[in-house]
């Protein structure tokens, strides 16, 4: 039985889409969002059973200011254009975002040179940056910062954003405006026809006149399906630990001075009040290996400790890893290709999240230049109403809501204070949750300190009831990840009802 993943198919079987986007990460989502304004038939295809299941859900959640890369790179170009867009887009789409500012911390005198380099780069990139060497000022701004700090590069336009929620809401906005999503649909081949591309997946063949390859870690493989070979991807793992809410108070994102390989191990607040430490940067052959390692966890703990001494490790609630899709060109791979109507948006590693909105808009522009008619949609929905959130609702208002909908008064997740109403709405929304991970990403149960120890049975039952499937058919993230193997004592398999 197909439980995870969705097809929202307003189109008939033989629809030829105007555009097919391969990949529902934050890059593909931004492209879909940018195209949703136009009167087009757009499809998004992803191999996973939900959107935001790859790099976009396991990263640092940082909006970079744009001082890190050279001014002539695509990384800097898109990062600098996209950065100021986040306030409005996150407000429109109800994505948690906080422009809290960035610190790059030099803990040795010898590291001050790096800050000067970044200052020069930032100034060249037209990004507001300054160097603070007054110890009192930097510790007033960031009281927990190591006393070893010799100086910091301060970039006030840096921020934190919930990357998976941005990804989700961009997709939700696209879906509300008629975009079709084919999930659990890994692309196996693409044939170039006269007027269109035929994109094969095990479940379905999707026809589209234009194709945008936003396939992240597999973007080089997808390009090869149309006979191109302009770049190669390698996967670089970044591991993280996440600390409970209330462990320490941080006002800014703290970076060490960068290495040639990466921006280093960061200590950052998250938009939900946790503290995130990571990532390291290790090459992996397997592009799907997101396992954490003992060595990696120790590496990030040691790295974090340099910026915030004595990290409260007993407050650690989880560890995870993501993979960066690094292109051998050294930059993003964005634009038209020698195959007509086939576009790349690949090799989007850091600052990919920070650049995605601008990449989406620019890809839409390029598609227009290549002949795609960009006529504005007459009834475009660009603002998502704020979904109900128990912990953010004032008590008087909450009382009234519960009287209308008693499910708002049923707390399912005690750690994050999430009600049944929020969970049901997360399932019922456009591109709703179909799995436990889907619920977790959308409304946070299992994200807290008990990691689902208490709420999992309730979530299984709610998913069963809402999806009308037996409880034991509910999965963690896809059809291969069931939680249960049937019933005890020969009890009957059934859809849960209260």
């Amino acid at each position: 039985m197909f439980t995870a993943g969705v097809d929202l198919e307003p189109m008939s079987k033989n629809t030829t889409f105007d555009v097919a986007i391969i990949g529902a990460g934050v890059t593909g989502a931004s492209i879909a969002w940018a195209l949703a304004k136009y009167d087009l038939k757009v499809a998004v295809i992803d191999k996973e059973a939900d959107v935001a299941m790859g790099t976009s859900k396991a990263n640092s959640g940082i909006l970079h200011a744009g001082f890190a890369a050279a001014s002539n790179t695509l990384k800097t170009k898109y990062n600098v254009i996209a950065n100021p867009m986040f306030d409005k887009v996150c407000a429109d789409l109800k994505v948690p975002f906080n422009r809290c500012g960035t610190f790059v911390v030099a803990v040795r005198d010898t590291e001050m040179g790096y800050l000067n380099d970044l200052l020069r780069q930032g100034t060249e990139n037209k990004v507001p940056v300054e160097i603070i060497t007054d110890s009192k000022r930097m510790h007033d701004m960031e009281p927990e910062l190591t006393k070893d700090a010799k100086g910091v590069l301060y970039a006030p336009t840096g921020g934190i954003v919930s990357s998976y929620e941005l990804n989700l809401r961009l997709c939700e906005c696209a879906a509300m405006n008629g975009t079709t999503f084919f999930l659990d649909a890994p692309v196996t081949s693409i044939s170039i026809k006269k007027e269109h591309f035929a994109i094969k997946t095990p479940r379905k063949e999707v026809k589209a006149r234009y194709v945008v390859n936003a396939a992240g870690l597999f973007s080089d493989k997808v390009e090869q399906m149309v006979g191109l070979h302009t770049f190669n991807i390698t996967a670089w793992k970044g591991e993280y630990i996440i600390l409970d809410k209330g462990s320490i108070t941080l006002n800014h994102i703290l970076f060490p001075t960068p290495t040639k390989q990466s921006k280093g191990i960061v200590v950052t607040p998250t938009t939900h009040g946790n503290i995130l430490v990571g990532p390291n940067n290790i090459f992996y052959e397997d592009r799907e290996d997101v396992a954490t390692t003992t060595e990696g966890i120790w590496e990030i703990i040691e790295g974090g400790d340099k910026l915030i001494p004595n990290l409260p490790l007993r407050k650690v609630i989880h560890n995870y890893a993501g993979l960066r899709a690094k292109a051998d060109t050294g930059d993003f791979v964005i634009g038209p290709t020698s195959v007509e109507r086939f576009f790349n948006a690949g090799g989007i590693q850091s600052p990919g999240l920070s650049s995605c909105l601008a990449i989406g808009i620019d890809i839409a522009r390029m598609l227009g230049e290549a002949g795609l008619p960009l006529k504005s949609r007459s009834e475009y929905l660009g603002v998502i109403p704020k979904p109900f959130c128990l912990r953010e609702t004032p008590l008087e208002e909450l009382d009234a809501i519960i009287k209308q909908d008693p499910r708002a008064g049923h707390v399912v997740c005690r750690c994050e204070t999430v009600s049944e109403k929020e969970i049901v709405e997360a399932i019922q929304r456009p591109l709703g949750a179909r799995t436990l991970d889907g619920i977790k990403m959308r409304v946070r149960p299992q994200m807290g300190r008990c990691q689902g120890g208490f709420c999992t049975p309730k979530l299984l039952k709610i998913l069963s009831r809402e999806l009308k499937i037996p409880v034991e058919k509910v999965t963690l993230k896809n059809n291969n990840s069931p939680l249960l193997f049937g019933r005890t004592k020969g009890l009957k398999s059934e859809v849960w009802q209260e």
Partner: protein, 427 residues
């Protein structure tokens, strides 16, 4: 918004809450239990094995039987109960905000509060076990709930990480349900839970217990496919070359319990080394009129001790409401400190507010040892002494003794566990 006035609010209707509420109610004060689940009894409802009540009832009961006795007593009392009700805030002035489906937002203004929220399980993430994040990784207590209450099978073949009591009990429970329990892996050189559970749940079923071992990796992209375990050195670091792969579809974690005090902290309650509130001999926290008992205060080995501790807290909360505990002039706090081989001691302070000099000391040894004695001392003078054939961290020690306020020097008492003198051993 609904407002409820009561004398005592008990937060949590598990064994601690039930005992505290009943005992307080006996004195004639108004008591309200706020319970988040649809039924009372707390975690006992999923503990369908026996072994409960040997001390309190002098008979062997299952978890639900044990809690039912108190639930029945409650029916004959005036205690009010709100089920399906989640407390979302507690203020230092003891104002409680709770919500449920029928009443909406509820404000409770009690004169005293007893915290009996229990504990939660330490997670895989909290102990930094690396590997994949796939289906089939459960805290042992969650697996227990799925099997015993919900009636679902979470495993076909399992490795259990940690030999806490829940882990060992689940090893037996899953075996009885037809699951292949491949191993219990314990980082310590001895089983972490009670000896009786090691014997009755592992040895009787020939389930291998790997001591001084840890899980170094969980494998499986979608569902668990196996674990790698390795032997550890005395600093719990994996030893090279001792890796072995065990194929399984499920991993359970039974690696300790953490008192659940997020609500207590909102009220300004100070926590101590147990993860629970710092309390005086009345089980009163630093916030006047807020008491704590049961696993929210310290993780217990036996529910019987929870009952006794909560009864005292309930009684003391009632005395507080009736203004009975502030009649005695304060002598200034006495600090109670853990000494040799003692992990922590409850209470952390003696205030002599009750006018009674009888104090119950609860503590756990840090490590196992034979032929020991507990010395409760002040300034070199022994106030109380108790002999033990053996001590082990999984077993709490409870000593009730009179503590003469005039025998205390430097406002400090120390509790230590030391070997018995040779000549006393022979006796």
């Amino acid at each position: 918004m609904k407002e409820i006035k009561t004398d005592i609010a008990v937060i949590g209707g598990g064994p601690g809450g039930l005992a505290a509420a009943l005992e307080a109610s006996k004195t004639g004060v108004r008591v309200l239990i706020l319970e988040r689940d649809f039924e009372l009894g707390g975690i006992l409802q999923q503990c369908i094995h026996n072994g409960f009540g040997l001390r309190y009832f002098k008979e062997e009961l299952t978890g639900p039987e044990y809690s039912q006795r108190f639930i029945n007593m409650l029916k004959d009392s005036d205690v009010e109960i709100l089920r399906n009700t989640m407390v979302i805030d507690l203020k230092p002035d003891k104002t409680i905000t709770a919500i449920n489906r029928t009443d909406g937002v509820i404000t409770v203004k009690p004169q005293a509060v007893v915290l009996t929220m229990g504990c939660r399980e330490r997670t895989r993430g909290a102990i930094n076990v690396p590997g994949d994040r796939c289906a089939g990784i459960f805290p042992a207590g969650l697996a227990q709930r799925l099997v015993n209450v919900e009636g679902y099978m979470p495993a076909k073949s399992v490795v259990i990480v940690g030999s806490g009591d829940i882990g060992m009990i689940m090893a037996r429970r899953l075996t009885l349900e037809g699951v292949e329990v491949k191993a219990v892996v314990e980082v310590l050189p001895y089983a972490a839970g009670l000896i009786r559970n090691r014997v009755q749940c592992l040895e009787d079923y020939k389930i291998p217990l790997y001591l001084c071992h840890t899980v170094t990796h969980i494998h499986g992209k979608d569902r668990v496919k196996g674990v790698t375990i390795a032997q550890v050195d005395d600093k719990w670091r994996p030893l090279k070359g001792t890796d072995r792969f065990i194929d399984c579809d499920t991993v359970l974690f039974s690696v300790g319990l953490i008192p659940e005090n997020e609500l207590s902290e909102k009220a300004g309650v100070v926590l101590g080394s147990t993860g629970g509130p710092v309390v005086n001999e009345l089980s009163e926290t630093n916030v006047s009129g807020i008491f704590a008992a049961g696993n929210v205060l310290q993780v217990h080995d036996l529910v019987d001790w929870v009952t006794l501790e909560a009864q005292r807290a309930g009684k003391n909360a009632a005395d507080y409401v009736k203004n009975l505990t502030r009649g005695v002039a304060e002598r200034g706090r006495i600090k109670v400190l853990p000494g040799d081989n003692v992990g922590y001691v409850i209470p952390q302070f003696i205030d002599y507010l009750g006018g009674d000099t009888q104090v119950q000391f609860s503590f756990r040894p840090k490590g196992p040892a034979k032929d020991q004695q507990t010395l409760i001392e002040s300034g070199g003078t022994v106030l109380a002494k108790r002999k033990h054939q053996h001590v082990i961290p999984s077993e709490m020690i409870n000593i009730v003794t009179k503590v003469d306020p005039f025998a205390i020097k430097n406002k400090e008492i120390t509790v230590r566990i030391v070997p018995q003198p040779e000549e006393e051993k022979k006796q």
